[in-house]
């Protein structure tokens, strides 16, 4: 039973990573019906920026602001930079292609992903980079016979807080209402005075910033990052998006959590080597029986 609960917590931790990245995919998909392949690379870029802030800014930041202050600055700077990158990528690579339809935009997104990934490789090198261990808060926790780390609990708290904030923003604020309205029906939303371009810019600020925060947390959790991590996590997060029902934000969060838990339980009880196969098999099974995802609503096909 102890293994089960430990794996459950581990699963929730990586599941919250998937969920946070999935939110970015889901928002873009909801509004633009575009699979934003570059989103995984936003996440990776955020992770690398956080790394650079921690390594090169470590002397200055930690002496002046302390461990927590330095960490907070690193995270915030990474998120702000990525918000900027997201807006720029949208403006340069996606906006000119919207009129052409969905599939050309997918190729353009692939192009943007290739550019970002290779820029990361050129700037930081093709090898793994290690997050500085002495700058990461960590302490073991023994609660109820479980071996956990403080970092894990911190990540879980931050992730759930971020998800709650995003849920609040989307459900309760004017901006969120605009995003939901645009996702529902773009033309009618435009007639109601919603500025479509602003909505897009908003989601391309929010999504990549969340991705960058996740990237820094992944770096702290696993201690090492590589330039291809965007693809690996992006693929999983996209799977989570579909699992929850694409375009459905709470669905994406739950999809991510479910995926993470399945992955960890699969590696504990089935086999570590086959865990990803297990995850994809579950995804396929879910889609066979619920073709619109776990939380997706059935949309009647218009003739």
């Amino acid at each position: 039973m102890r293994v089960f609960f430990e794996q459950l917590i581990n699963g929730l931790t990586i599941g919250s990573f998937y969920g946070l990245i999935a939110l970015g995919y889901s928002m873009v998909y909801g509004v633009l019906k575009l699979i934003n392949f570059a989103h995984g690379d936003f996440f990776a870029l955020g992770s690398y920026l956080g790394y650079t802030m921690l390594v090169f800014g470590s002397g200055f930041l930690t002496t002046h602001l302390g461990l927590w202050g330095g960490l907070a600055v690193a995270v915030i700077v990474a998120a702000l930079c990525l918000a900027l990158v997201g807006v720029v990528v949208e403006r340069v690579a996606y906006r000119p292609i919207y009129p052409a339809g969905r599939l050309p935009a997918v190729v353009s997104a692939l192009g943007a992903s290739i550019i970002l990934q290779n820029l990361i490789m050129i700037i930081w090198g093709p090898r793994y980079q290690a997050y500085p261990a002495q700058l990461i808060p960590n302490f073991p926790i023994h609660a109820g016979g479980l071996n956990l780390t403080g970092l894990q609990l911190l990540i879980l708290c931050v992730s759930f807080a971020l998800m709650a904030v995003l849920y609040f923003v989307i459900q309760k604020t004017t901006w969120g209402a605009a995003v939901r309205a645009t996702a529902l029906d773009r033309d009618t939303a435009a007639l109601m005075g919603i500025n479509f371009k602003k909505v897009i810019r908003f989601i391309f600020t929010l999504g990549p910033a969340l991705g960058a925060l996740t990237g820094v947390m992944v770096g702290m959790y696993y201690r090492q990052i590589s330039f291809t991590m965007g693809w690996n996590y992006g693929l999983k997060a996209f799977t989570a998006t579909i699992l929850g029902g694409i375009g459905n934000l709470p669905g994406a969060m739950f999809g991510g959590l479910i995926l993470g838990v399945l992955e960890m339980l699969g590696s504990a009880y089935v086999s570590t080597a086959w865990k990803d196969v297990f995850v994809f098999l579950i995804l396929i099974l879910v889609l066979i029986f619920r073709p619109n995802g776990l939380f997706g609503e059935k949309i009647a096909e218009k003739v």
Binding site: A100, L103, V277, L281
Partner: protein
């Protein structure tokens, strides 16, 4: 008959024939003038043409989003590799066997998911491709050799002739490409091709006119996978080694880009797309690590200025003008 009396459609078809003849002559002459390196580049160009054509059946003709096509390619390559190294079956015999294996695999895995629409189908095919790759890495039954793959695959032999040179494999692949192009052109103009296009344009309308949508979609997956299996066979034979890292999600994305850069459903377009994807990194070798960045920039620019692809499919064959011309054409 003096040239100016030739009716316009005959002149056009003569021009077309002359063009094809030129391309054919260039392909035959090429290995005699180019070095081994260039001939090898042309071989991989051929592989990407085959892969592009195979995905074009699924994505271009029927409009099904398939981002796991590398899985079928892998099945073809590993079928050849395993059967050749274990049982010594000649690789040319394994060419149709690989096609059958990939086609059968496609039939089994896509049957339960063929009803999914758009992006849901897309993610399931991604999952399928990943499952194939991960399974190959995990070495089921000790057959696939794990991350190192299978090595020591034979070269093809035609009687006493051994096709193990660069020129040999070049000749082999371009013959296969030629046959595939011919067959696909015929297929496009057949009842099947028209049914596929009809499903792509409007699935519900297609169903309403009595087209068995499910069967035609499955057929597209099976044929597309079989052609990818052929490409897998030729790839395995050329490299003499197959390993899981050749069949990643990235490879599926490249095929997807080939079809979209070329033009959905357009055979000449796919050939151009394959040229762009396979020759571009070679041409820009001097950019070193920047070449993939340039590659990404070009992909975006292409979609900006030619969103329908470089050579979009012309709606031909069934247009009334063509029908009239065909009816008016003298027999004999």
């Amino acid at each position: 008959m003096p040239g100016h009396c030739v009716p316009p459609h005959l002149a056009a078809s003569r021009q077309k024939a002359a063009g094809l003849l030129l391309v054919f002559a260039a392909l035959v002459v090429f290995p005699f003038f180019a070095g081994d390196y260039l001939v090898d580049v042309a071989f991989f160009f051929g592989i990407y043409v085959l892969l592009g054509l195979s995905l074009n059946i699924v994505l271009g003709e029927v409009g099904l989003y398939d981002l796991g096509h590398a899985g079928f390619y892998a099945i073809g390559a590993y079928t050849t590799a395993v059967l050749n190294t274990r049982f010594g079956i000649p690789v040319l015999v394994l060419l149709p066997v690989s096609a059958l294996a990939a086609g059968l695999f496609a039939f089994l895995v896509t049957s339960p998911i063929i009803h999914l629409r758009g992006d849901y189908l897309c993610i399931v095919t991604i999952g399928m491709g990943e499952i194939v790759r991960l399974a190959l890495i995990n070495n089921p039954l000790g057959l696939t050799g794990g991350p190192n793959g299978v090595y020591g695959i034979d070269s093809p032999t035609l009687g006493f002739l051994r096709l193990d040179s660069s020129a040999g494999s070049y000749a082999l692949i371009w013959v296969v490409v030629g046959l595939a192009v011919f067959a696909l052109f015929r297929l496009q103009r057949s009842r099947i091709g028209r049914a596929w296009n009809c499903i792509r344009e409007d699935e519900i309308a297609a169903q309403a006119t009595g087209i068995n949508v499910r069967a035609y979609k499955l057929l597209a997956f099976v044929l597309g996978a079989a052609l990818a299996g052929v490409a897998g066979n030729l790839y395995a034979v050329k490299l003499m080694v197959v390993s899981p890292e050749s069949f990643t999600f990235w490879e599926s994305c490249l095929m997807f880009s080939i079809v979209l850069i070329g033009g959905m459903g357009s055979v000449p377009g796919v050939i151009i797309g394959a040229a762009a994807i396979s020759l571009f990194p070679e041409i820009f070798r001097s950019f070193a690590s920047y070449r993939l960045v340039v590659f990404g920039v070009v992909m975006i620019l292409m979609m900006m200025f030619r969103p329908g692809g470089v050579w979009p499919r012309r709606r031909g064959g069934t247009e009334s003008r063509d029908l009239l011309l065909r009816l008016g054409r003298p027999r004999g």
